[in-house]
Amino acid sequence: MLVNVPGPWSPLLGRLALSEIPYTNPILAPLFIVIVLAGIVLIAGVTYYGKWGYLWKEWFTTVDHKKLGIMYIILGLIMLFRGFIDGLMMRTQQALGDGPGDNGMKVMGAIHGYLAPFHFGQIYSAHGLIMILLAATPLLVGLMNIIVPLQIGARDMAYPYLNALGLWITTAAVFLIMISLFVGDFSHNGWFGYAPIFELAYSPGVGVDYWIWTLELVALGTTLGSINFLATVVKMRAPGMTWGRLPVFTWTAVSANIIALTSFPCLQVALALVGADRYLGTHFFTAGFGGNLMLYTNLFWLWGHPEVYFVILPAFGMLSEVIPAFSEKPIFGYITMVLASFAIAGVSWIVWLHHFFTMGMGPYVSTEFSIATMLVGIPTGVKVFNWAFTLYRGRLTFSAAMLWSIGALFLLLIGGLTGMMLAIPAINYMVHNSVFVVAHFHMMLLCIVYAVFSAIIFWFPKIYGFKLNEAWGKIMFWLFSAGTFLVFFPMFMLGFMGETRRLDWPFNPQWGPWFDVQEIGIFVYILSVLAFLWMLYVSIRDRHANRVHTADAWGTSRSLEWLTDTPVPFYNFAMVPHINALDEVAWRREHGFMDKKPDHFKAIHMPNNTPIALYIGALTFLVGFGLTWRVWWLTLASLILAVILMIYRSNKGDPGYIIPAEKMEEMDRESKARMLSDDSHQVPHGGGFSGGTVTAYTALDRDASGSLTPPNDSRHL
């Protein structure tokens, strides 16, 4: 049943052999040494300061949505950096290798530039996969993880343990793709995969297998996460938080996760079928034996297009939070904003063919998909106008977060308009597979990156209790924007000049000047990375000066997350607030209720930490690694162990623990004291009482009623 692989194979090690480790590669070998040394320093440091227990207790086994979110974001930032280095390498290759003649570096075995085609192919494949699925997705999932429960007044996600599981499975995917640097090769057929190059006959190495299993793992992790988000928003809203009062960011999270939940399974199936072709010798995507190449492309983009909206919608949500806060106005057109999110999510399901207009299915199909694609412009346009009207006659503060948000709007405009051009089949036939397409989607994905930086700066003080340095945030913004302009404006030009994407050897000397401009752009990007690191350093150094003493860090924030203490305590809200209006915090501020405190406390029920999610994550990594190298015993053993752990944990459940009311009161007092005294409120009290009775806090049914023992047959899965 199993396919025979070319080359040696042993039952114990599968296809692994010493020769698979590229210790002669002049880039990878030194990198490996640096990473090993850095790893040793890190481990030694943690051991020296005796921090293992802390890491284990507070981070590795945590089920707290905020900490999991922070880890997601750290993971995303690290992968953003790795992807950036890939980008730098590609830009340098094209700048060096441009034009005819013998311009290759012989030490590297390259005929043009410094990278051999085989190596270049791995870099662009890894770059795309990493940036979309292991950088953008974790950054967004991380931010949603932190903010969504706070915005709806929940104590945690609906399934805290599932949340941890999602993180650790995503981490397993990250490890799998990172280890492909040093053990074997990565795939060279692009982030989305081309049939039939990925079939075993044409890609006999392990690269494609790394690609399959990395994608499968992120897909699994993200699907689990999306289930959790939906359940959380449906079931865990605070009293009074009706659907009509849900903040826009939460709404976009809902729409995005509906897309994720319904589309990621397509990807998993598509890749499982590729796996069947490669491991079992089936013929789903071969040209012979009844297979069909385009079936793969179809299945992939059936997920691929909804995925791009899965990543842009939360970014839209972030803009919808930042822009009103710094315009001191409610969002313009709340209802249309929500409807537009769902319209975008809905339409994202009927446009996927625009990624392969050139397949040859004729004019009728093309017309339908072209029109459907252009329809997306309507709700997107509604959103852009809503943001513009929010800004209009607002009291604008151009803080660092606001600058990033406004930058995102510009990128959205360029990306959206070029997308519209691509949606016209006649134009698409001309520029499909050119770098014009690459420039289009980089505008879109950078729009997300801008929104993410904006959101990080905006919400950072809520989580850590101090603000990031504004000046350096702005410097980074301008450097990053200059880099974006210098790299991607030439890319549009090159697209018009006919440069196809993924060229390891750009043969046309006339492209040369544009490559040089792009290379300069990359160096400006490097400066912005340094500015980012410096911003972190300066902010942490000056954290006492930048302390935030109020719940509402910016003084003009609107939604519920700004009501609880800064930094947010692990239980989120000592007493779950009662929601009276859309933009609850703005409402309370205007009516002078910001300092209204709960008059009594109730016992609360919290989930326990668990290391099982971490173990299962590690096991899924082993499953992926075993499958890649065809080490069957390892695969089977880890899989079985993972399933046993899962069943064990599900049966054991987690009764959680109860914090009694007196303890809550004490913790709340301490937490408030840490924010300094209440009279240091810089928040205007304004407004006054508007009449009628107001409920500021109500007890939840969920909150355990007084008893100190958790219900012992309760199961938190």
Partner: protein
Amino acid sequence: MSHGHSDPIHHPEVQMATNRNYITGFVVSSLLMLAATILVDGHILPSFGLLLAIIGCAGIAIIAQVYFLLHIDISEHNIWNTVALVMFIPLFIITIGLTWWMFSQLYMRTMPMIPGMPGMH
């Protein structure tokens, strides 16, 4: 709201999950998959007949999984499951339907006829 709402075990969603349902769902979908595999492996039907048989198996398997494993039905106390069902059906029709349409147009222009398939030239 006094009836043990703090205990998740008593939620109707949890109450619906019985071992028997899970096992039935698992067995039924495994059997259908096995049947499809045997049909294809042995070339028991002509090409187009095979296509229909696989589609039939897949359709029943979907219904079995949705019902037995996901407990999605149209009962009243489970309004969210009904919502999920209502959203799932159009999605299903769109994705399968549009794929069908696009490939039939593609095949019409590029492929030889599948033996036994009506209405294609």
